[in-house]
Symmetry: C2
Subunit: 210 residues, 2 copies
């Protein structure tokens, strides 16, 4: 398989963690977003949306949208599970992941912030926007973890929830979001920081990191 990604993209970061957790070997093709490498004609043929990640499978199919790719990896390589347990448990893990993948990340991504700048927003308000989106969303995430067992979001092993959380915390740090009160989330971050699949997926470890 070949993953088209970018070291700093949270969505590509999710795939790196998922592939590592499942032990799936992958070639990396780096698409530097600030250099427009996601807008080249060859890449737009693979992914008309011009976003990363995209995953080329062994049989030449191209998959887009990070959450759809994670579900595909889960269906084709079920062990270890990213969505363990009965449907209700899987629904709770997916709901947590989707607070991040739907309600936080797309509202604070590069494209939206660029649009705010193009509308003459001062840089301070652009950063404030990202901080607002992230804090509000992560507080909802913290509430969804209440009463659950650690050390990961949903128990003893990482799931799709942790895969989404860690890259989002990377963004939170960049924008200076205030996370002090998020006890469970901070404990999960601590657990993931010691896990080899998360360590190897970190942006600063990627070949395209600047």
């Amino acid at each position: 398989m070949r993953l088209h990604g970018y070291f700093r993209s949270s969505a590509a970061w999710r795939e790196r963690i998922a592939l590592n957790l499942k032990g799936i070997p992958v070639e990396h093709e780096f698409r530097h977003l600030r250099h427009g490498r996601q807008r080249t004609p060859d890449y737009l043929r693979l992914n008309p949306q011009g976003l990363v990640p995209a995953l080329e499978t062994d049989d030449g199919a191209v998959l887009t949208q990070s959450m759809a790719i994670c579900e595909y990896l889960e269906e084709t390589h079920p062990e270890p599970p990213l969505l363990p347990g009965p449907p209700l448990n899987r629904a709770r893990i997916r709901a947590f992941a989707q607070v991040i993948a739907c309600d936080i990340h797309p509202v604070q991504n590069l494209k939206v912030l660029a649009r705010l700048r193009a509308m003459s927003f001062p840089e301070e308000e652009v950063t404030g926007w990202a901080r607002w989106v992230i804090q509000d969303g992560l507080e909802a995430c913290e509430a969804l973890l209440e009463g659950g067992e650690g050390p990961f979001c949903f128990g003893a092993a990482p799931t799709l929830a942790d895969i989404c959380l860690i890259p989002q915390l990377g963004n939170a740090l960049r924008f200076g979001a205030e996370l002090g009160g998020l006890t469970r989330i901070n404990a999960v971050a601590h657990a993931c920081a010691d896990h080899p699949a998360f360590i190897a997926a970190a942006p600063e470890r990627q070949a395209d990191a600047d």
Copy 2:
């Protein structure tokens, strides 16, 4: 089951279509967003995020996040399938659905537009924002359908893709997005307009419509 929704919410609209397609009977509890009925203490106990939809299952569990609820319905009531076919086909349907659920809808929802207004944006630019997000996203959706078979997004029967598309087209209409060039999407809209599950789920047919 009991669905907490709002006639105009695209995310609740998705659940109404999914429940209708699968023939699952449901009680409706309406949470009028403009009257703050999603922020009452009893509702925040069910869904700390204060968003609709939330689904109370027969055994008293509460599910949130519309895409996670759809996946739960698919796992517990597999027929007719919202995600038919082998993993690759399911990944394509999910990717299409997620362009809408991640990249379009959350960036043009009530909360984001209210924030733009609060930042003193003129109404015209707020509407322009929503139009930009919707047109850009639906063009990506159209590209994902290229070469496929109709009359629905992915073949002869509606899937999760159509469930996400139709409510998003409702928003497109409200904001005056330009959809003339989206041939496949317009054909799908036509097919869904004649389908009883979609007809019964329309906002204007709900008991809380104003």
